[in-house]
Amino acid sequence: MKKLLITLIIAAGLLAHAAPKEEPTAMPKVGDLAPDFKMAYFDGHDLKEVSLSQYHGQKQVILAFYIFAFTGG
């Protein structure tokens, strides 16, 4: 019994070790639900928080990811 338990513990340890640490999320495809988010921007006076869900049923959203500010595009 004790032997079995030890085997199980070792097996669990090996499995945990073999599992990839952080699998990168795949980019969502056309037709997928866009992941919700909450991010802030500075309007010149205050930080304003924006979430995707606030536009649900109201507006479509263009979400434009860019690499760094001051790189054009």
């Binding site: 990168p24 866009a34 988010f37 304003k48 434009a64 990811f65 595009g73």
Partner: protein, 103 residues
């Protein structure tokens, strides 16, 4: 970003909110927006949580890939433009203007 600004009136007329996203601070983004005349929000994904959630984080650059998403009123992705294709957003601007988009 400038391309969206040029089309902003058109896009607003079709019930479309434009949001830029980068991993810069909100203040750097505001300075960037002011310097090139952008009036829509540039959101700060400080720490990269959203960038990772969308599968766009590039470890080598410690930044996001250049991608435009058009998201419908139902929250589903209608169009995507990836990397170099994302520099000219005509495809997405045209898609916004398509009449009777599912909403």
């Amino acid at each position: 970003m400038k391309n969206f600004q040029q089309n902003l009136k058109k896009l607003e007329a079709t019930d479309t909110q434009v949001l830029g996203v980068s991993m810069d601070s909100a203040f750097a983004n505001k300075a960037f927006a002011d310097s090139i005349g952008i009036t829509f929000p540039l959101l700060s994904d400080w720490g990269g949580e959203t960038t990772r959630k969308y599968g766009l984080y590039v470890d080598k650059y410690k930044a996001a890939r250049r991608v435009n998403f058009l998201i419908g009123k139902d929250g589903r992705i209608l169009e995507e433009q990836i990397d170099n294709a994302a520099i000219d957003p005509t495809k997405i601007v045209d898609a916004c203007e398509r009449p009777k988009l599912k909403g």
